[in-house]
Amino acid sequence: MQTDLDARGFDWYMDRAVAVGVFVGGISAIVFIIGIFLFVTREGLSFVIGPMDLKEFFGSIAWRPTSIRNPTYGILALMAGTASVTGLAMLVAVPFSLGAAIYIAEFATGRTREALKVLVELLAAIPSVVWGFIGLSIMNPLIIDLFDVPIGLTVLNAGVILGLMAAPIMTTIAEDALKAVPDSYREAAEAMGATRWQVVFQVVLPAAKNGLMAAILLGVGRGFGETMAVLMASGHSINIPTSPFDSVRALTATIAAELGDTAVGSDHYGVLFTLGIFLFLVTFVINLTADLVVRGVREQ
């Protein structure tokens, strides 16, 4: 027997419809990502099982995919380019973003605080091509003048640009991590006679350390995957850098610059997709680590 408790009214259908809608939305995002990964893998696979030589791929600095007689596909220099630029970017971004986050979360009050938060979000929204443009037209002559070097499109240039670019988003995430530390901790520590700095360094930062780690890792991921700004500011020449004044070429920039000139299905085309797989895996690992680290926060 049907009672009114079993009746399927408008609310019931509505609830169902929304549930299904949300489910489809959520699933399709995952499906798209898997689809992209499968596509990239398929395009790269012909190279991986064909001409790829692991030792040459990771061990050689010779990236000569267009050589007609003897093409070589060594990505060591490209990895060194990406790593040096990302590393320098983090040297710039970590102190900047943590400092800004500490100031905004712990010291700034009222209007200043709100204004700074808006400013940081505005900075985070600057498109990367604009950063690349700044690298090309402002940083480049500046570096040439300042250090008396022949070219300003270098690790230094790209690293600083990338650092400034990653800093705002890192600041936002780090600030969230600091804000998540309960005020009662601060109050208890201050009641013990701790100064503001002591509270920050001995209570708040340790309590927020997982969130701060995640912020840094996401910054690394951002730097790793950035293409346009690095392409424009790094000089784009294959090189294992020995100083910040060397030009380098990044993995991402290589794909962006070369893919348009390759014939679909050629070895060159395949190797670029293999680079894509490699980048995908590395960023995946970085993001996963960040995620696990953040999860660590919640479990505490």
């Binding site: 005020d183 009662s184 901790y185 208890a188 201050e190 009641a191 013990m192 006679g193 209570v203």
Partner: protein, 254 residues
């Protein structure tokens, strides 16, 4: 008791939050080594009183304090080194706050701030304070466990141990038993009775019977004003000074 110089003299203390007056011209003395109770209904200004004593006003941006507070004869409303003051005035908040560090570090936190570095000295302080807070036996085997993982009652005793770690001269307790079971409450009350030989205690409580059990003298706050202050037992059974006090302690209020 009568001839001792007061530990704390409050004169015309007024506390405002913006336009709202939370305490209106309070004057009272707290004597050395007494337990001084403060009772009163919600929003009567008890917590505001403690905040003023510890100079914790910076956490309440709109809070303004007027009047004089003499601690050992010195007016503390304008002292510059509030950090030193707070080391001499321990506070226990209503909800226990175990800092996110080990039990040991929770207690060693204050001494470390004050510059104590020697391990043996810290060990000694940690053990002494945990014993005084009646927590030592329960945690002595796991001093390195996280303080925030203790039970509520244990955390509150940890908070008391931490407040004692700097040998405060004045201990402020704000409704410490709000999140603590009756048995633990009794244990903490015993602790306080023993402590009063060494420290002066101000005990804010919602439980009039707790004030009656513990406090030597008690003040009754009502709607931002000090209605009456006197020997605790007199508030309950002595001649009626102010009918409102008698109504409150006998639960006839509203």
């Amino acid at each position: 008791m009568v001839d001792a110089a007061p530990k704390l003299s409050v004169r015309d203390l007024t506390v405002r939050y913006g336009d709202f007056t939370a305490l209106d011209r309070i004057s009272l003395d707290v004597l050395p080594n007494e337990i001084f109770g403060i009772i009163g209904p919600a929003n009567s200004g008890k917590t505001s009183f403690l905040r003023a004593l510890n100079r914790m006003e910076e956490f309440q941006p709109s809070m303004k304090v007027e009047g004089k507070i003499y601690f050992n004869g010195q007016d503390i409303t304008a002292v510059r080194n509030v950090y030193r003051l707070r080391q001499k005035v321990g506070v226990v908040f209503p909800l226990p706050v175990g800092l996110p560090m080990s039990i040991y570090e929770n207690v060693a936190f204050g001494p470390r701030l004050a510059g104590v570095r020697k391990r043996s000295e810290l060990d000694e302080i940690v053990e002494r304070c945990l014993r005084r807070a009646a927590l030592w036996d329960e945690v002595k085997d796991r001093l390195n466990a996280l303080g925030s993982l203790l039970s509520g009652g244990q955390q509150q005793r940890l908070t008391i141990a931490r407040a004692l770690s700097q040998d405060p001269e004045l201990l402020l307790l704000d409704e410490f038993s709000i999140a603590v079971d009756p048995v633990t409450t009794m244990r903490i009350e015993d602790v306080l009775r023993e402590l009063k030989d060494e420290v002066t205690i101000i005990l804010v409580t919602n439980l009039v019977q707790q004030a009656r059990r513990l406090a030597d003298r008690t003040a009754f706050f009502l709607e931002s004003e000090l209605v009456e202050v006197g020997v605790t037992e007199d508030l309950f059974t002595g001649p009626v000074v102010d009918q409102r006090t008698r109504d409150y302690v006998e639960g006839r209020f509203g």
